[in-house]
Amino acid sequence: MSNQHVGEHHHGPAQGFTRWLYTTNHKDIGTLYLWFSFAMFILGGSFAMVIRAELFQPGMQLVRPEFFNQMTTMHGLVMVFGAIMPAFVGLANWMIPMMIGAPDMALPRMNNLSFWILPFAFAMLASTLLMDGGAPNFGWTFYAPLSTTYAPPSVTFFIFAVHIMGASSIMGSINIIATIINLRAPGMTYMKMPLFVWTWFITAFLLVAVMPVLAGAVTMMLMDIHFGTSFFSAAGGGDPVLFQHVFWFFGHPEVYILILPGFGVVSQIIPTFARKPLFGYASMVYATAAIAFLSFIVWAHHMYTVGMPVAGELFFMYATLLIAVPTGVKVFNWITTMFRGSMTFETPMLFAIAFICLFTVGGLSGVMLAMAPVDFQYQDTYFVVAHFHYTMVAGAIFSLTASVYYWLPKWCGRMYNETMGKTHFWISFVGFNLTFFPQHFVGLAGMPRRVPDYALQFADFNMMSSIGAFIYGSSQILFLFNVIRTIRAGKPISEPKVWDGAQGLEWTLPTPVPYHTFTTPPEVK
């Protein structure tokens, strides 16, 4: 079956740097995205290390408060826009054509462009650290007027960087939608698509809908700062609360953009290692669509304390609670997929199981946060920080790590070191929980987020948290080492099915995957 692809007109990749600069090959671009996002993950992670080092003990030791604020801001921006989003776009580039039997992405030249503008955006963003007045210091949510009237001069560079990132994401998602709609192999109906493709399909629609809203928000900021308008300034008849509404209208779908492809990845990995088909495929698709729809009508749950009318509070509370329903369906489906399977626990499976456990914890604290009256005590505390790191790190990052271990052998035809992978998993798992679980406690006990220093009663848990963060952070070095070692010196493998339980078109291709695949579309029965 797999041999039919070999020996077709194979011109391999060009050599040297220009291969990467001019490439329109979906696999090359996917690789670029993945390496770029890993670099950003390390950069954003090093900002997090500065934050945790400062918070290791009460008192100011390492940095000044203004620099601390720049660190929290840059950490958030780099992780959201630089690490998680491009990483999933990279996976989409690699896997979607192979999963639906397409030769490449639908718009290969735009694909190249959407990647290559990203390094410029982040170079611009990172350069603000060296500017007079420092980098953006108003949090990744950049609430006006702190981000307009009271912002450092570098805010203009921040705005342009966000515009470029937005353009990149929009192009990337248009490409993905165009690919999925137009390039599916004969017989690959929508309801036969792998769940990773489905979740990305829905995510791409979310991106197309809300990235322009973010662009609009930063454009309004730009106009307020430089052109004398007053969208967000009360003095000129505007309203700072309007900013929050516009931002979270983007921001809430955005957090699902960060997690839905992760759901997809886990829905691929769990059946493989349970050696049993995914339970409730159709309800998984509907649940994803329901989550995406609900994400548009819950944004103001980030703003329970701004003084909304009580009717508004109630509406957003009810809508937010509803999200628990489709999310629950997903978790139950995954567990039932494992139920009565024949499970083995290779590294990707370990990360996927940890994803389900920890994402459930994050989801349950999300239910607590959805309760408007109680949120008056939770809002802007470390309880929130714990919640979204349980969903973003244990959700998005763990699923990304799982997918690298899962597909890397297929991509490069070499097996990673399982012992090292498992070690990486356990260090990550312990480090992660040690970092973020105590943050629930300090949050409930009254520690606000985004503070460079704290009262003495929070000292013990913060020190644990910092230690956990250093453990989790340093475990990424092991990950990097394992990946590089695999690519250069891993044990060669050649079975098309790297994992004996794997299903899907990508596993019918030879291992390592040739540079061009499915130049003649496969037949899907």
């Binding site: 137009n182 322009p212 969208f231």
Partner: protein
């Protein structure tokens, strides 16, 4: 076939992107302002022209109206209500004054922004004359009594027995200069 399909999909999505960008400016901002005005949120109520019906003063009800003055950052003026609160009957015309003094040695222009507590009172609070309708210039060292005339609507829900009205005064000297430069051009 695939190619024209791709072009079509891309074209449609590009339209969505442009539409969503425009949506922020032509839908979200006006819609937000309309909603705020309809609900009286953030003091935004401008409302319909209120017909003054003098004869219908409801003397059976008394509503306490409190006045609060706030200086925004960088606004050095003295600014305070001349009376902390007054008791009014719905339907009656009342006049109160705020005192403002430009204590600096520069000519300045100010804008007062109202805000109501509770917010839904805004739609029952009709200002027939107010210093907040326009920007207020004061020469260096000058002071002024700024009048506000208002009527509390007879339809004010019985649950609302007192209303707090705050004015935040902002320094808009620079904004005013910029606007005038535009008009004079």
């Amino acid at each position: 076939m695939a190619f024209s399909g791709i072009a079509k999909t891309t074209g449609k999505l590009a339209v969505v992107v442009v539409a969503m960008f425009a949506f922020v400016f032509v839908v979200m901002v006006p819609l937000y302002n309309t909603l705020c005005q309809a609900l009286g949120l953030n003091g935004k109520y401008s409302g319909k022209q209120y017909e003054v019906v003098q004869a219908k003063v409801d003397t059976t009800r008394t509503v306490k109206v409190q006045f609060v003055a706030v200086n925004a950052e960088g606004m050095p003026w003295q600014f305070q209500p001349m009376q902390a609160s007054i008791d009014v009957h719905p339907g009656a015309v009342n006049t109160v004054e705020f005192y403002a003094k430009n204590v600096t040695d520069k000519d300045m222009v100010a804008q007062a922004v109202p805000s109501f507590v509770p917010a839904q009172a805004a739609q029952y609070f009709h200002k027939t004359e107010c210093f907040c309708f326009r920007r207020q210039p004061l020469l260096a060292g000058a002071d002024a009594k700024l009048p506000m005339q208002f009527i509390v609507d007879q339809a004010l829900p019985a649950a609302i027995t007192d209303i707090a009205l705050s004015y935040t005064i902002f320094d808009v000297t620079a904004m005013d200069k910029a606007d005038q430069a535009v008009t004079n051009r």
